[in-house]
Point group: C2
Chain length 257, copies 2
């Protein structure tokens, strides 16, 4: 569930169904379920101890080996630790840490379009497609600058971002960004002293291979996507930003939506 009212409002089920032959392995479904329950604090048992493999197999209606494979996955991710003869436990680090670490990133998102945002991975120049041109208020074929960035906190990658700018607006953007590490400062050098978000769209998607590599998560894990068009005070578009956020590590907090 990955709730941040963590553990609140989630009751454990006696039996949890899994679906066969849907292209998602049972062990993966079980690993995802356990991970959600662990991260949301709805563990069913006290003090970070999981039910026994036998009980979990019964709960999910699968063989014990299938549960073991799921546990192996979460152990590899550092979420669980199994002790022969004792039981399987949530990694100590997670019992206190993740809640706080997952709580306070609303500002990162709120500031996403305005402030320095992680390290520059790549940049390129591309002619605007019809749809891009329409959105940014330029002619189709107009050169655009695209930058790819990655935000990392405590060695843990959180957010991929891609932004597009009309090149005419800020021809030196890549060099400026490399120097300042800031969108705001780079745009200011180009004479754009202020801008704001028109609106933000929030969607969800699944991690693909590229997301998985950059964000260090498994493929098929959920991502939060934000998309925002930024405009200057006169309403003229300055740039468009799309983020792909590891949902297991970040949540968005909206005050009084």
């Amino acid at each position: 569930m990955r709730s941040l009212y963590d553990g609140v409002m989630t009751q454990p089920f006696d039996t949890v169904p899994v679906a066969r032959g849907q292209g998602v392995a049972l062990w993966r479904q079980i690993a995802d379920e356990l991970k959600s329950d662990i991260l949301s604090g709805a563990l069913g048992t006290e003090e970070g101890r999981l039910p026994t493999e036998k009980d979990l197999a019964a709960r999910f209606g699968v063989n014990r080996h299938t549960v073991r494979r799921a546990i192996a996955e979460l152990t590899a991710e550092g979420i669980l630790r199994a002790d022969q003869g004792r039981g399987t436990f949530v990694s100590e680090r997670l019992i206190t840490y993740p809640i706080s670490s997952r709580t306070r990133f609303s500002e990162i998102i709120a500031a996403q379009a305005r402030e320095p945002f992680g390290k520059l991975l790549a940049s390129s120049e591309e002619p605007a497609t019809a749809a891009q041109a329409d959105l940014l208020g330029v002619e189709a074929g107009t050169p655009l600058i695209r930058i790819e960035t990655l935000s990392v906190a405590d060695e843990v990658p959180l957010i991929r971002a891609t932004s597009w700018f009309p090149k005419a607006l800020c021809p030196g953007l890549v060099a400026d960004y490399a120097q300042t590490g800031s969108t705001t400062k780079s745009l200011a050098r180009a004479g754009v002293t202020d801008y704001r978000r028109k609106e933000t769209r929030i969607l969800a998607d699944l991690a693909r291979v590229e997301d998985a590599q950059l964000l260090n998560i498994a493929i098929g894990q959920p991502l939060l996507i934000t998309e925002a068009l930024n405009v200057d005070p006169s309403g003229k578009p300055t740039h468009f930003t799309r983020t792909r956020i590891a949902a297991e590590r970040v949540q968005l907090i909206v005050e009084s939506l």
Copy 2:
């Protein structure tokens, strides 16, 4: 990508990597990728025609049969239609429909906690856990009322919602809700004439069996989750609502986050 600046800012890749042995079948990964591209309008070819099976197989680096299985899945979902000898096409209905249908649901979310919200699936009474009690400002063990609702538009399910209320606040809630179909009216009958959201948390998760059944999507598909605590004018909690939203059909729009 499921963008609603649809088709904007997405360029097709010549080759798309897929991951083996990760618990997600290749045909499922390919189906998800194609679905995202179709819904976001980034199809790579004109007029709703997909690349040939041979080309897709080359693009994803898999056997043609694997691509066919992915296409079979999307055909079953009504997204694609294959014509022998001609090619594979995006279902006509989708070429114009989905964008509009996916665009205008910001209000639904904004109004989610306030207005009638789909049909009542179930209700129950449960003693508050420690975490629930803390959040709702009652004693642990206090009876809570839980209601489960499902919102549907044009026969298509969009949002599952679960809400918890302190029973003492509104003892007749279930009957009132069944009669009025409205949280606001039901609470008004209990003397709670006004309330507001303190904040909304937005996360993402994967669809499980129960989500898949209720929302009519495949397991493992992305969900948007919103969680909100509602309080009366004095700041006292009235209820807590959690929604699970089919991300392939709904996106959230936040004005000036």
